[in-house]
């Protein structure tokens, strides 16, 4: 028997394969394709205090082996989530991780406050790295002091496990990881999308109405693996690795680099079955390699 279960920040996950925020809505669409109970966890679409309508279209552009998005955090707001989405999600036996976003320290604190007592939420993913909203978002994630301060404010409001989501758009991601660990993060997740741009040469306009957007998908995998490996050397909190995972082999790279769990983002959009395929593929590979526990793989890269 292969053991796929992992414990991160005190939460038990039946397997280490999660679905990344913003690439899975609130799960409803994927319930047509498979039983959501198969998942390790669901990281829901980024939430803000108030509902947001997001950026104008076009919001999506395809790039070589990847995609840009500038959805701009369209979401029903934390209240809408609690009222209309969470009850539906609760029918499943899957940890729900709420991805939270703020324009200011106060807003981060307030949204945390609002979620703190709510049943059905297993952890918060503190998004200090969204490149798609002006004022805030990624801003907090590019400076260790600000990043730490966000975590402290959130920490003060809840006992829920805190997963802090890091931005790849920095010179030294290990330094940010250390700062959020010191400020009380229970885990880190990385990477968020890479700030990028594409231009439609026919119209001579940016491919996205927001001009710039976030690059994700297989194209960014080598960058993400490098950052996971660097962060794994720098912190002792668990790491949820993501960025370009589209098959089991990709996930294994992240485990070897030091991730304790992985999340799949953009690949859910190109292949709605991908999460199940990765879980199955992981199991098969571990059996074949006679590795009894997925944890034996973590950080196992031979340097």
């Amino acid at each position: 028997m292969i053991n796929l279960s992992v414990e991160i920040a005190g939460i038990k996950f039946k397997n280490p394969v999660m679905v990344a925020s913003g690439c899975y809505g609130f799960g409803r669409e994927f319930s047509n394709f498979y039983d959501l109970n198969l998942l390790g966890a669901i990281m829901v679409k980024g939430l803000t205090l108030e509902p947001r309508i997001g950026n104008p279209p076009p919001r999506i552009a395809e790039t070589p082996a990847g995609m840009l998005n500038s959805v701009g955090l369209q979401n029903p707001g934390v209240e809408g989530f609690i009222k209309n989405e969470l009850p539906w999600l609760k029918q499943y036996d899957v940890p729900v991780i709420a991805n939270i976003n703020g324009h200011s320290y106060e807003e981060f604190a307030e949204i945390t406050d609002r979620l703190a007592g709510v049943s059905g939420i297993s952890a918060l993913e503190v998004n200090i790295s969204c490149p798609n909203v002006k004022n805030g978002g990624m801003f907090f994630g590019t400076d260790p002091v600000m990043a730490g301060e966000v975590v402290k404010r959130v920490r003060a409001k809840t006992d829920l496990p805190l997963i802090v989501k890091l931005s790849p758009n920095v010179t030294d991601i290990a330094e940010i990881a250390k700062a959020v660990e010191a400020a009380g993060a229970d885990a880190v997740s990385l990477i968020n999308t890479v700030l990028a741009m594409a231009i439609d040469i026919k119209t001579r306009r940016p491919a996205l109405s927001n001009v710039v957007g976030g690059l994700s998908g297989p194209a960014v995998k080598p960058l993400a693996v490098r950052m996971v490996w660097q962060v794994a050397q720098a912190v002792s909190v668990p790491i949820i690795g993501m960025g370009g995972i589209a098959k089991a082999e990709d996930a294994i790279e992240f485990f070897l680099a030091g991730a304790n769990a992985v999340a799949i983002g953009a690949a859910n959009l190109s292949n709605p079955m991908v999460a199940v395929e990765v879980i199955d593929g992981l199991k098969m590979w571990l059996e074949q390699e006679k590795i009894e526990d997925i944890q034996h793989l973590v950080g196992g890269v031979i340097i």
Binding site: G22, C23, N32, G54, P57, P58, I60, E62, A65, L269
Partner: protein, 264 residues
């Protein structure tokens, strides 16, 4: 139910200089699909292109269990599609989105189509004719050589009128002029429109002025096609007058024209 399937390609042939028809053996999809819905198509087994491509259902044959698509070669994905041979399998998701709808009472129907937007109107015309409605089809094209579907509509028993930009066939000018004239001559119960955005906007204006209900099929760049990424939105006015974004893949691609807010 929406499904991801590997289905067999029965036919993949050029029908016009820039257009191919692909016929798929997909009984489950054929059973459920409604005109106006679409499929997400995998154009490659590699990571380039990364995303699937949305293509509308062109004909639905429940008996044979087949779905026909008409696609225009515009870029990388559609070019790769042309390379597929009959007998090969292709991965699809579908049927997706909200299709056209119609009511018992409507008698006289006008379909307005342009470019590759003509493709989904064929399935619609077939369904409308079967329910006994009188169907006028107004088609716009750059020139005669690029005109899609005329014969098919005629075979179904529709009255077809054509406008071409260069006057090489039918009326020289815009298809919307045909609509304008027809709407003055005939009592029209419902207009359905699918084509380039400027055409759609003009059709919406004409029908609005003439108080004719109108359904429009929209295109937007898609990530997933299933409603998960909120990538493919179009601006709508909520009942309370405020602005919102709705997903073309999930809440559309067919919208009531009055609901949609066009910028500019």
């Amino acid at each position: 139910m929406v499904q991801m399937l590997k289905v067999k390609i029965l036919e993949n042939k050029q029908v016009l200089p820039d257009f191919f028809r692909m016929v798929l053996a997909a009984p489950m999809v054929a059973k459920e699909a409604v005109p106006g819905q679409f499929l997400m198509i995998n154009t490659s087994d590699t990571l380039d292109p990364f995303l699937k491509r949305p293509i509308s259902v062109n004909r639905i044959d429940q008996e044979k269990g087949t779905i026909s698509l008409i696609y225009q070669i515009v870029g990388k994905g559609t070019r790769l599609l042309t390379k597929k041979n009959a007998g090969e399998e292709i991965q699809i998701i579908g049927p997706l989105g909200k299709g056209f709808c119609w009511s018992e009472q409507d008698k006289t129907i006008v379909l307005v189509g342009g470019g590759c937007g003509i493709a989904p109107l064929v399935a619609l015309a077939e369904a409308l004719v079967q329910t006994g409605k009188e169907v006028f089809v107004l088609l716009g094209s750059q020139c005669k050589e690029k005109l899609l579907g005329e014969d098919e509509f005629k075979e179904l028993g529709c009255t077809v009128m054509v406008a071409t930009d260069d006057g090489s066939y039918g009326r020289r000018g815009f298809v919307t002029e045909l609509l304008d004239e027809l709407s003055q001559k005939k009592r029209i119960d419902q207009v359905y429109c699918c084509g380039p955005l400027p055409m759609t906007k003009a059709v919406v204006q004409i029908t609005k002025k003439a108080f004719i209900p109108c359904q429009i099929s929209l295109e937007e760049r898609m990530g997933c096609g299933i409603g998960a990424c909120i990538g493919c939105v179009t601006k709508v006015r909520r009942e309370d007058g405020t602005i919102d974004y709705k997903k073309v893949c999930h809440d559309g691609p067919v919208f009531t024209s009055s609901e949609v807010v066009f910028d500019d």
